[in-house]
Symmetry: C2
Subunit: 215 residues, 2 copies
């Protein structure tokens, strides 16, 4: 059974960076929501296309620009329709079947539940998420121009959207602890250390040479 | 600043065993709720008594018998009174000031918040908690005689008690993720592996040689 890690995360908590670091440490491919959305837009579910992507093992350079997701996303539940979700759903399954990977967002923990992914949820207090967002958006005038109050509101609005999206498609509460193997508070913790030790824990729990657990 | 770990846990999830393993790995003293209750009963807050306990670095042998807490605890909020809580509160502070330690239960994460403990919450699905309770209570006729349905009810009743106790004394929701640094689902995971990697993560986050964070 493929080694798969899924990451759910509060906005600004460093979930994508953790995902990237885990993928590098463990030699897994890395897919985040933008990548999956892009595949969904560019393909009509062509397995060949997914395979091409997989073979390229997409890895993008740091820092990941957060501003891109801070603005356009207003209410995913209203914006998305079932057809696109179903397309994404299939793409996520294809990616996980074709490659060992880290997938960030997109209800992947739920979609891949039969494949027993190692499910991580990343969160942090609002102050550290605001700080991280400002650091990652350094030079972005739109973020720079936001007052703390408005930035906090934007972050909370995005997370309300994520919660609604997750609940709409999975019928589960976003961030409810039983849906994850481990939940990590990144407030005041170096993501490098988290990645190192979570990768080791993942290794202990998901030994690829161990027989898959009986279903 | 002393290295301190606090552990909140669902009944039957292995929180005490994890606490014991962490205390052994990291060379910290270990205190669980029974120990603290016993100190509270036997002392009228004598610092000397606490110091004696600390110097003995109490370590008890595996397996910890769970049946003891499965029965007597009915509704802690009704049973406890503020005086006992206040006594326990002071004892927990004294223990944490006198020694580097792991403290299981008793709202220690909240009581010691100014000392920046590393706060762990341990949970698992109900099936694995039932299984663990049966294994740990092996030979205990009372637990052996319980049907699965009754055992499940007992476990859920104890956790409702813990939640009420925590919420009554801290004003916080028991198990809410922002009150912890890490939350670990022990379903299908070896506690030994969890202890190893959580201890390493704790080491990275709470380097005793690092300056304490500014308040």
């Amino acid at each position: 059974m493929n080694r798969i890690i899924t990451i759910g995360r509060e906005f600004g908590s460093g979930g994508r960076e953790l995902g990237r670091r885990l993928s590098e440490r463990l030699g897994l491919a890395y897919y985040d929501q933008e990548i999956i959305e892009e595949i969904a837009e560019q393909t009509s579910l062509s397995k060949e296309y997914v395979k091409t992507i997989v073979e390229k093992r997409p890895v993008f350079s740091y820092p990941i620009h957060t501003a891109r997701t801070l603005y356009p996303q207003t209410n995913p539940v209203m914006e998305q329709n079932l057809e696109i979700y179903s397309k994404q759903h299939q793409i996520i399954k294809d990616l996980a079947e074709e490659s060992e990977c880290v997938i960030v967002g997109r209800c992947a923990d739920y979609i891949l539940r039969d494949m027993e992914p190692f499910r991580i949820f990343v969160f942090a207090d609002i102050e550290s998420r605001m700080q991280r967002t400002r650091e990652k958006s350094y030079g972005d005038d739109e973020v720079k121009g936001l007052s703390d109050k408005d930035l906090k509101r934007s972050i909370e609005r995005i997370d309300r959207g994520r919660a609604k999206y997750y609940e709409f498609y999975t019928g589960q509460k976003w961030g409810a602890r039983l849906n994850y193997d481990i939940l990590v508070n990144t407030t005041g913790i170096h993501l490098e250390a988290v990645a190192e030790h979570v990768a080791a824990l993942f290794g202990s729990c998901r030994d690829p040479y161990k027989e898959a657990k009986p279903q």
